[in-house]
């Protein structure tokens, strides 16, 4: 077969196979039903969109301790992790998955789900996280970040409510 013919064959094949690959990607997204209406991400007021500051700012990809801004965020998540492991250096209004794909802050569960796959699987079914809404109707989903502060996800201890009265004290 000549080179030209081979190239034509490859192009035709990829053209017809492309929808197949697209459908695979779609299927991965179809795992998550469209009814994942989540409340908006709990941004600090005024912090989003990030591009209002970062547009045009030079990017420093060196892992370091931040000093001028965001110095209050101490990352205690992932060993040896730093900001650009999740945040997208080229467009701060998006998050970046391990394979380079970008997801919006409204769909940050994809990002968390990369490492926390088992939890993500449970969350999709409605088995992980606080449950409110109707058990026989619309489930109300929350984003991971609504409960877990992504920079320091471990829950702080809280004060327990009072213990019950001892029976001998009930008069």
């Amino acid at each position: 077969m000549s080179d030209k013919k081979r190239h034509l064959l490859v192009m035709l094949a990829s053209f017809f196979l492309l929808p197949f690959f697209f459908s695979l990607a779609e299927a991965a997204e179809q795992d998550i039903p469209k009814k994942f209406f989540v409340p908006p991400p709990p941004f600090t007021p005024g912090i989003f969109p990030c591009s209002q500051c970062h547009q045009g700012m030079p990017v420093n990809r060196k892992p370091r301790k931040l000093e001028q801004m965001h110095q209050d965020i101490v990352l205690k998540h992932m060993p040896d992790g730093w900001c650009f492991d999740c945040h997208n250096p080229d467009n701060r209004d998006k998050l970046r998955l391990a394979n380079g794909k970008l997801v919006s802050f409204e769909e940050s569960y994809y990002l968390c789900g990369q490492c926390h796959g088992t939890v993500f699987r449970d969350w999709k079914v409605g088995l992980h996280g606080k449950r409110t809404g109707m058990w026989n109707g619309e489930k109300q989903y929350l984003l991971c970040v609504h409960c877990h502060w992504p920079h320091e996800p471990v829950f702080k201890s809280i004060r327990p409510l009072p213990p019950p009265m001892k029976p001998s004290d009930i008069k």
């Binding site: 079914v125 449950r131 409110t132 809404g133 009072p162 019950p164």
Partner: protein
Amino acid sequence: MKREKNKRRELSLDRRTFLKGAALGLAGTALPLDKADASFWETFFQKHFREMNDTEIKKVLQRLEKEAEQKYKKAIKIGNEKAMPGVLFGYGLDLSRCIGCRRCVYACVDENNQSKDPQIHWITVLRFKKGEKFSDLEESEKYYNPPQVPEKEYFYMPVQCQQCENPPCVRSCPTQATWKDPDGIVVIDYNWCIGCRYCMAACPYGARHFNWSEPGRKPEEINPNTHYLGNRPRYKGVVEKCTFCIQRTRNGRYPACVEACPVGARKFGNLLDPNSEMRYLIEHKRVFRLKEALNTNPKFYYFFAYGR
């Protein structure tokens, strides 16, 4: 002489009889026979809930709402939602998440109008030391009160009515005042219970509680949305327990404890719905139930989140 004595004795006997009769008559006037106390007789002769038709139940609900309003100076609605067809409620409790904060306990108290004085809690949270016997409840502690939870060496397990499919309490009740409704909730008719407390001896989970005196709850604390078999204001001398928030769940809502849990340790749903999270739970997670050896077949599943 003797005949006179006998005669006097006979006379005194008659006086005694007369006095007795007069006393009885006076006592008789204390009986509520007039119209104002008609509700006393209505209450006394009220039939078993399952034997009443819808009109009779409606009358009873109206009477009870009026009595509650008189007592608490607040309009209270007592509903009678029936079990939804094709529904069997199940509950899931994630032991890997519970932090023992007791917010579920107090959310339940507020939602279900439990007495605060004397205190009644439908949910008991037990604390176990990691590494010690787990199924030996004797090693557990329910009065823990550390400054912060969760504590490092402990884990927590809340217990409430397990809504058994084979409930020993239903079997033991001599008047059938407690029974299992079609959607799986074990309910109590507070107007039929005679307060013998046999069900409390029969329950293996300590889930049933008794009103040792008149329930003490302030009017402003009353939740006015109630159900006849659930959280309506109860009486002295009757047994009560968790009803899976029947007033909420029969209207499609989650129980109060599920919504109150800050760490999402509580799950609830319809076991008969193949798409519900409860079905997924029991089919995929390693679930167990308390005291399974007793064959009570509870619908309260404990599990650990990890694993499939």
